[in-house]
């Protein structure tokens, strides 16, 4: 696993529940992972897997009624000027208080999925980027902030940035807007960027450009990245390490190449098989069987049971499988790789 000196964000057993009047949704149900400095962690999952909620929980922006973090810790290791490290538990900070606010946008920033709705329609792009600077660096003059914003826009590949800075979001195309969003998230030089499906709303060709841009920027600025997507190919391209989430739990976790070479969890295998390939003989599409169960359902056993081709009735639906290291640095949550619970006192992880 990651070298403990490099770990920037350490999520431990995070649990987030949503209390709706139809029932309680266990959106995130015991998720743990680490993001290291300068590295990218990819998170793969379908809608409803809890990946976005996890990201929101890190920044403390989970919509708070009805959502609530009910368990776990989110630790941020901030290097200080004197080479020591300050450890902050983000989940204990006062909601929307000044501490968490000084982290948002400055130490950890976020890129959202829908660039159109993510910008205010009545303020210029420049205004919104400069705002990020001026909140966190109040001593910076307006002129300097503007210079920085122009430079940032140029760096993300927006031509004529000295003029475009005064445009409104609806004057930009989708790809440009996303670039502007990236500029806004990087303008304060954060240590980590959370990218929540940044290319899902874009055309494939633009998507490729944005991915290249992100990779370049990471090389240049050296920030860590948490890249969330449902698109395996994209995550494979961009991440150093990957976790696979399903219904609020981590199902598998490994370095990217290892995961692609040796997918262990039946869900991961099914995902791999469902990708249509261009080369090779023509074959039938094979989607992951079944549909997501209702979010209000409570699963005694493995949540993937209803769709798993390798399930063992009586075992997989009776107890929750624990997360085990099936191969070196490769974790899986599946009874296929665990001793059966009859040999243990209680299999719940």
């Amino acid at each position: 696993m990651a070298n403990s000196h490099d770990v920037l964000v350490d999520v431990q057993d995070l649990k987030v529940h949503f209390y709706l009047h139809e029932g309680t949704v266990h959106a995130v149900d015991g998720v743990s992972f680490q993001v290291s400095q300068g590295k990218t962690l990819g998170v793969i999952g379908e809608s409803g897997s809890g990946k976005s909620v996890t990201a929101q929980a890190i920044l403390g922006i989970v919509p708070s009624p009805p959502g609530k973090q009910v368990g776990g810790r989110i630790l941020l290791n901030l290097p200080e000027n004197d080479a020591s490290t300050r450890v902050i538990n983000l989940s204990e900070l006062k909601p929307n208080g000044s501490e968490i606010r000084s982290i948002r946008g400055k130490e950890i920033s976020m890129i959202f999925q829908e660039p159109m709705t993510s910008f205010s329609p009545v303020h210029t792009i420049g205004d919104q980027i400069m705002e990020a600077v001026r909140i966190h660096y109040p001593n910076v003059s307006k002129k300097e902030a503007r210079e920085r914003a122009i430079e940032m826009l140029r760096r993300v590949g927006i031509p004529h940035s000295e003029q475009r800075i005064d445009s409104y979001s609806f004057e930009f195309s989708g790809g440009m807007r996303q670039r502007a969003m990236i500029a806004m998230s990087l303008v304060c030089n954060p240590r980590m960027v959370i990218a929540d499906e940044p290319t899902t709303a874009l055309d494939v060709t633009i998507e490729a450009q944005i991915l290249e841009l992100l990779k370049d920027l990471q090389k240049e600025f050296g920030m860590a990245m948490l890249y969330i997507s449902h698109d395996l190919a994209v995550v494979g391209d961009v991440a150093d390490e990957v976790i696979v989430m399903y219904l609020g739990m981590v199902m598998e976790q490994a370095a990217t190449q290892e995961l692609f070479d040796n997918p262990l969890h039946p869900y991961t295998e099914a995902l791999w098989r469902s990708i249509p390939t261009i080369d090779g003989p023509l074959e039938k599409l094979s989607p992951v069987r079944g549909t997501l169960p209702s979010p209000f359902a409570v699963h005694k056993g493995c949540p993937f049971f209803s769709r798993c081709e390798k399930r063992i009735p009586g075992v997989c639906d009776a107890n929750r499988p624990p997360l085990v290291e099936a191969r070196p640095s490769h974790m899986v949550r599946c009874f296929l790789y665990t001793e059966l619970p009859s040999e243990k006192a209680n299999g719940a992880a």
Partner: protein, 332 residues
């Protein structure tokens, strides 16, 4: 932006024209030819009116000719001479009467509008951000009272209350002492004291609906993605509230002047009747009871025209405040 303004100004003309048709229709409504009625009235009350003068009146107002000529003459009078016709109840040109009363109506109405915004906007914002709190319920309650209670009733009760408990006669715009006195600070203060009641009553009804609109819009805006983006950037809740969703939610509030103004004018007319204020209200009432139609029609025309101009101003403001409209981009 300029193009937008010019376009809107041009569209104003057919609208004002239509309003004048309706106003004229009102003038012509009562059966009978009022000149002959007027003349016979004058004659019965003993005033000698020669046939020549009667003829002149008939010609002046075009009663010897078809309706559209009469309309044309009336409009011509308004546009070229500022002459809105003749009030036979008062025996004066309508515009003399209007000049006395219109400024008061305007002052009270505009102040009521501003007052209602001053009350409604803070309450609306608080209500939306603190849903289901005591203030929220209280605001909803006030809103309902404002809209359910007939204004004139409220006026009556409050005036009686002021009289009973404060020894303050709320009727009229000036106390007896100041009625004929020349202008002074004391007189102005006295006038303001008398204006409080009408302002509150007229303003309350509009305040109620403004609160509801603002609250609804703000609740919608607060759910939008850009609010989350702003929060993720590190803005404090107060900052992000004021800068983003409030700005957007306020726009429809200012653009609803289009239907707030008529309501305020209507309220002003009604309340001023009950409280005997020297504005257009009591004037209109007497005119309708005595079928003094040029006065009635002119009042309707002027009030409507003011409303239309008011909504033009609010549309221009909206275009300035919301760049999407200016650029013809995605509008809400």
């Amino acid at each position: 932006m300029l193009v937008y303004i010019i376009r809107r100004l041009l569209m104003l003309i057919p609208i004002l024209l239509l309003v004048s048709f309706i106003a004229f229709f009102i003038i012509e409504l009562p059966p009978g030819d009022w000149v002959t009625t007027y003349v016979s009235q004058l004659r019965t009350s003993g005033i000698q009116l020669s046939d020549q003068e009667a003829e002149r009146l008939t010609q002046l107002y075009g009663f010897d000719q078809p309706t559209y000529v009469r309309y044309y003459k009336w409009m011509q009078g308004i546009v070229t001479r500022g002459d809105f016709g003749w009030s036979f109840q008062w025996g004066k040109p309508v515009n003399d009467i209007l000049a006395e009363r219109l400024p008061i109506t305007l002052t009270i109405s505009l102040m009521a509008l501003v007052f209602s915004w001053m009350v409604a906007i803070p309450i609306g914002i608080y209500s939306a951000t603190h849903q289901y709190s005591l203030v929220d319920y209280f605001a909803t309650f006030i809103g309902f009272i404002g809209l359910a209670t007939p204004g004139f009733l409220l006026a009556m009760i409050l005036a009686w209350g002021a009289n009973q408990y404060l020894g303050f006669s709320a009727l009229g715009l000036y106390s007896k002492d100041f009625l004929d006195a020349p202008w002074s600070t004391a007189k102005a203060l006295d006038m303001l004291k008398h204006m409080i009641l009408p302002l509150i009553i007229i303003g309350m009804a509009s305040a109620g609906s403004t609160i509801r609109v603002l609250r609804g819009n703000l609740l919608d805006e607060l759910k939008k993605q850009y609010v989350i983006t702003a929060r993720a950037k590190g803005l404090s809740e107060y900052q992000l509230l004021m800068k983003y969703p409030v700005r957007l939610a306020l726009n429809p509030v200012f653009s609803t002047i289009g239907w707030l103004l008529p309501a305020i004018f209507a309220g002003e007319v009604l309340i001023s009747i009950v409280l005997s204020l020297p504005s257009l209200g009591p004037l209109l009432l007497r005119a309708t009871l005595s079928q003094d139609m040029y006065l009635v029609g002119s009042v309707v025309l002027i009030l409507s025209a003011l409303t239309i101009v008011g909504s033009l101003i609010s549309d221009i403001y909206l275009a300035w405040a919301d760049p999407r409209i200016r650029y013809g981009g995605v509008s809400k």
